[in-house]
């Protein structure tokens, strides 16, 4: 009998334990559900705005909507209308309605030129009139990297062509620098010949004059040699210049392809880092350790330059 009584009391204790465990599990589950709901913003009050665009490219449901870089809401729905236009509706936190003016426009921007696309609400100049709930805002797309790259290419290629034309003209053996130098050399030789004839005719003028003319002849002869050397070397130099320019053109073309991604990666990484640091500063519990900025007070100092000691 006593054995049965003991058995019954053990069973009752086990039942109580199970009940307690189930109750705690239920409480934990409810807390988790509440936490997730709060985190997902289910209890936040939101306001709806919309805009119409001709393409849904880079716009998706759930996409972030920002004001001055702060995430204030998301895209709630993207739908195709009967007339082929795309209707986009956004849900914005009611707290941030005060920034959405009646003349505000929605811009599709990309982080770091080609990063992930976000919708930015840009308030208009008239801050006195706010947009009503459900209002339809105007929409525009910011220029992307492709447009920028095409613009750079359009500006750069004519310059390269001009450079090529100029160097081609300079390297022309008939009309360019080599031809001109050949003419100079011919003229120099003619002057040499003329001076040789004149030196014979002027023998009687005097030894001094002959020496001077001899010196001049020598100098001109050197000049002729120099010009001849230049004439031989310049075409090679110009050819080399042409090759260098070809290389520059090639490098520019390659850079057009390779540099924008590098820029994009750098800008995106910097933006990410800023966002991470900013987010970390605001996140619990880190924000408890970061001092909130407050008005500064400077220590009193009625003699900042120590002028009292200098009075003499």
């Amino acid at each position: 009998m006593s054995l049965l009584t003991e058995y019954d009391s053990d069973t009752a204790a086990l039942r109580r334990g199970i009940r307690r465990f189930l109750l705690m599990a239920l409480l934990v589950m409810l807390a988790l559900i509440a936490a997730i709901a709060v985190r997902q913003g289910l209890f936040r009050q939101t306001t709806s705005y919309s805009f119409v665009t001709n393409s849904a490219q880079d716009i998706a449901k759930g996409q972030a909507v920002r004001i001055a870089g702060f995430r204030v809401g998301s895209v709630a729905d993207v739908s195709l209308k009967d007339d082929g236009q795309v209707a986009v509706s956004m849900e914005i936190d009611a707290d941030h309605m005060r920034f959405v003016t009646a003349d505000a426009r929605v811009e599709l921007r990309k982080e770091g030129l080609v990063g992930s696309p976000t919708l930015e609400i840009v308030p208009g100049p008239d801050k006195t009139r706010l947009a009503a709930a459900q209002a339809r805002l105007s929409f525009s797309r910011a220029d992307g990297l492709t447009a920028l790259a095409n613009q750079v290419r359009d500006e750069f290629i004519p310059i390269l062509k001009d450079i090529k034309l100029i160097t081609g003209a300079l390297a022309d053996p008939q009309k360019g620098l080599p031809g001109t130098l050949a003419q100079v050399r011919a003229s120099t030789e003619a002057i040499n010949a003329l001076l040789a004839n004149r030196s014979h005719q002027l023998d009687n003028i005097g030894d001094a004059a002959v020496r001077v003319l001899g010196k001049a002849e020598e100098d001109l002869s050197h000049l002729g040699q120099t010009l001849e050397t230049a004439n031989q070397r310049l075409p090679a130099i110009l050819d080399r210049t042409q090759q260098v320019l070809d290389h520059v053109e090639k490098i520019a073309a390659e850079a057009e392809v390779s540099v924008p991604p590098a820029l994009r990666d750098g800008a995106a990484a910097a933006a990410d880092a800023r966002e991470i640091v900013g987010g970390a500063k605001q996140a619990w519990p880190i924000r408890n350790f970061v001092d909130a900025p407050a008005p500064a007070a400077l220590k009193a100092d009625s003699d900042l330059r120590g002028e009292a000691g200098r009075a003499r």
Partner: protein, 285 residues
């Protein structure tokens, strides 16, 4: 035991879940936050002695506050800017800033503006204007404002500029009493330096020497080259008056400090003092 653990876990989860919502909605509007950050950064740089950058940050903060129609913030940062200009030795620029600030100030800020203006006017030797400003400040301050010690110190400087050594000494000693047990090392050093100057002007070279020594000890802890060099000049003057032979050594110390810190005006004064002491061996670099 298990129930307690489960309860703690539930509380932690609830805490973690609720945290991001409040973080997502910024407490201050972005422009106001940017103004506060510029002001805080300026104050940090001012504290480090980087006055030029501090001035730029205060100017930026003042503009940001003005753009959101925050008059106290604008006025406060203009005063910070004027203080930075004064620390850079640009008293005229400080006066220009203060003229713009006068409209938006009242109460404690108005008093701060008057004191800074008097300081700038003393720096450019406009003694009468400084005296008028100090009289107005005295009316605003009454008998117990927080800036009373600074007011007395500026009155002491004005009195010294008018060669009223006894008045200057009285003001400086009053300021020193007010500064007792307060964390105002710069003002305490200023008070001792003024006491030394006033005592020297009144012919009490021994008293001046001990006061200048005290000021030097404080200014060394504050690492302020202008003030340290000024203290050494005072010590040199006091030693010469007493007849101690090591006045030239004090001038040389002032010259060394001024040269090392690039303070041309103090270096010139120290060189002249050395020359007068008959021991010109150093030159201004």
């Amino acid at each position: 035991m298990r129930a307690k653990l489960a309860l703690m876990a539930a509380l932690m989860l609830t805490g973690c879940g609720s945290a991001p919502n409040s973080a997502n909605s910024p407490a201050e509007p972005p422009r106001f936050k940017a103004a506060l950050e510029a002001e805080g950064d300026g104050a940090k740089r001012y504290g480090r002695g980087d006055y030029a950058v501090a001035a730029r940050r205060f100017d930026e903060a003042a503009r940001l506050y003005a753009s959101i129609d925050d008059e106290p913030g604008t006025a406060r940062n203009r005063l910070h800017l004027a203080r930075s200009e004064l620390a850079l030795g640009r008293a005229e620029a400080a006066l220009l800033v203060l003229e713009k600030t006068e409209r938006g100030t009242d109460g404690s800020l108005a008093l701060d503006a008057l004191l800074l203006k008097a300081q700038a006017q003393l720096a450019v030797a406009r003694i009468d204007a400084a005296q008028q400003g100090l009289a107005a400040a005295s009316g605003l301050c009454g008998s117990g404002c927080p800036q009373l010690a600074s007011l007395h110190l500026l009155q002491a400087r004005a009195a010294l500029a008018e060669r009223r050594a006894a008045d200057a000494l009285a003001h400086a000693e009053t300021a020193l009493k007010l500064l007792q047990d307060k964390d105002e090392a710069a003002e305490t050093g200023n008070a001792w330096r003024l006491i030394a100057t006033a005592r020297l002007a009144a012919g009490d070279a021994g008293g001046a020497l001990s006061a200048a020594g005290t000021a030097l000890g404080i200014d060394r802890r504050l690492a302020s080259p202008e003030k340290i060099a000024g203290d050494w000049l005072l010590i040199g003057d006091a030693r010469r008056k007493i007849g101690a032979g090591d006045g030239a050594e004090a001038y040389r110390r002032a010259l060394d400090v001024a040269n090392a810190a690039g303070l041309a005006d103090i270096a010139t004064i120290a060189t002249q003092a050395l020359s007068a002491a008959g021991k010109t061996t150093a030159t201004v670099r």
